[in-house]
């Protein structure tokens, strides 16, 4: 099973879309709220150089934004 991490903020609609997508496909994920978790924010910037959420890690692959096609490909969803 893929190790999925989503960096998000509480008001981010695209983050909610991504989480809904994971739930619909029974994909377990870890959520890190970069609005309150400074360590997670630093980690997100260090790994991806991004400040726009969602940033999603599928194992070591980075997905910027809610890119349904890329997520499906990396997660093996038809």
């Amino acid at each position: 099973m893929a190790n999925v991490v989503i960096y998000s903020t509480p008001t981010c609609g695209y983050c909610k879309m991504a989480k809904t997508y994971f739930n619909e496909h029974n994909i377990a994920y870890i959520e890190k709220d970069v609005a309150v978790d400074e360590q997670a924010r630093d980690e997100m910037i260090a790994k991806t150089n991004q400040m726009g959420v969602p940033v999603i890690l599928i194992n070591d692959q980075v997905v910027i934004g809610f890119d349904r096609g890329k997520l499906a490909s990396l997660l093996g969803i038809a």
Binding site: T11, G13, V34
Partner: protein
């Protein structure tokens, strides 16, 4: 005939999904296409002016609309329509993955897309300090210094959200005054009084500076003695442009800015073609108005369908 419907709706925002709900209740066979599920409503964050809710999250509101439409048999596809044609009253759309769908009527509710400043470096630094969605990325700037560019209601609402997190927020507009709902303006004024927000009128960004991340912006006029303003993030809210290329290709009449000209029943100049939401000329761009227009457009499409039938040929099990 598998991909033949009574109604195709382009756009899955408040206008499109409200139209889908109504058309579903009219027992029309409906398919909705949307490459940005929920439109701007889904990324609006908390919404306090949608009747029936004291406050509702925009994404949750759109998920409920989707659920309502799907319960009536509407098919909703997260796909982008890239082409549309008409053959003797039968409309056909092609999606990005090359599939084709047809219907006897069509509602355009694709919304708009955000305008950019058009400055060098803007694209390179997008999501690296330059942002277009304050509700999405604003909270990531907890304890930082940011600026909002634009003087409309969306900018003021954005400032109110970002300032909950940021140490200092500038609102910069080239206008002489702000155009915001009084309730949003009052909320921002409180933040100004607390020193957390600073309003900068009649000024504009002329340069975005940074390598791999935003370092500063350069203003046309000095602010506190300098044109340079060092920032961690900048949010751009300077309006939007209509996504009307598909409607234009069908011969739908647009206004000078590219919005669709629609009548009181949301009909366009092309029979069988209707419009709803932010794409419509002269519209007050709100979720509630988009939803209302979607209801009207679906009703007009139903009347059109009853009068003309489905020019693509109706499937035998169609209840209409």
């Amino acid at each position: 005939m598998e991909n033949v419907f009574d109604l195709i709706i382009v756009g899955s925002g408040a206008g499109g999904l409200s139209a889908a709900l109504y058309a579903g209740r009219y027992r029309m066979r409906v398919v909705v296409f949307g490459d940005h599920f929920g439109g701007y409503t889904a990324v609006a964050g908390p919404i306090g002016n949608y009747p029936g809710y004291v406050e509702v999250d925009g994404f949750d509101l759109m998920m409920t609309m989707k659920e309502q439409a799907e319960a009536l048999g509407t098919i909703i596809k997260d796909e982008k329509v890239v082409g549309v044609t008409q053959n003797d009253g039968c409309f056909s759309v092609t999606t990005e993955d090359g599939k084709e769908y047809s219907a006897g009527s069509i509602i355009f509710a694709p919304g708009t897309e955000r305008r950019q400043l058009g400055l060098p470096n803007e694209k390179e630094l997008t999501s690296k300090g330059v942002h277009y969605c304050a509700t999405c990325d604003g909270p990531a700037y907890s304890g930082k210094i940011v600026a909002m560019i634009g003087g409309g209601d969306s900018s003021v609402k954005g400032v109110n959200l970002v300032a909950e997190y940021a140490k200092k927020t500038y609102l910069i507009t080239r206008s002489k005054e702000l155009r915001a709902e009084p309730i949003n303006f009052e909320r921002m004024q409180k933040l100004v009084d607390e020193g957390r927000v600073e309003i900068v009128l009649e000024n504009q960004v002329v340069e975005i500076v940074g390598t791999n991340k935003l370092e500063k912006i350069v203003l046309a006029q000095p602010l506190h003695g300098s044109q340079d303003l060092v920032l961690d993030g900048v949010f751009i809210e300077i309006g939007s442009r209509p996504r009307s290329e598909l409607a234009r290709s069908l011969g739908v009449t647009l206004d000078e800015k590219g919005h669709i000209l629609a009548g009181t029943t949301m009909e366009t100049n092309v029979p069988g073609v209707f419009a709803a939401g932010d794409i419509v000329s002269g519209t007050f761009k709100q979720s509630i108005t988009a939803a209302a227009q979607g209801a009207v457009a679906a009703t007009a499409a139903y009347q059109y369908h009853k009068m003309h039938g489905n020019r693509c040929g109706t499937r035998p099990e169609s209840p209409v």
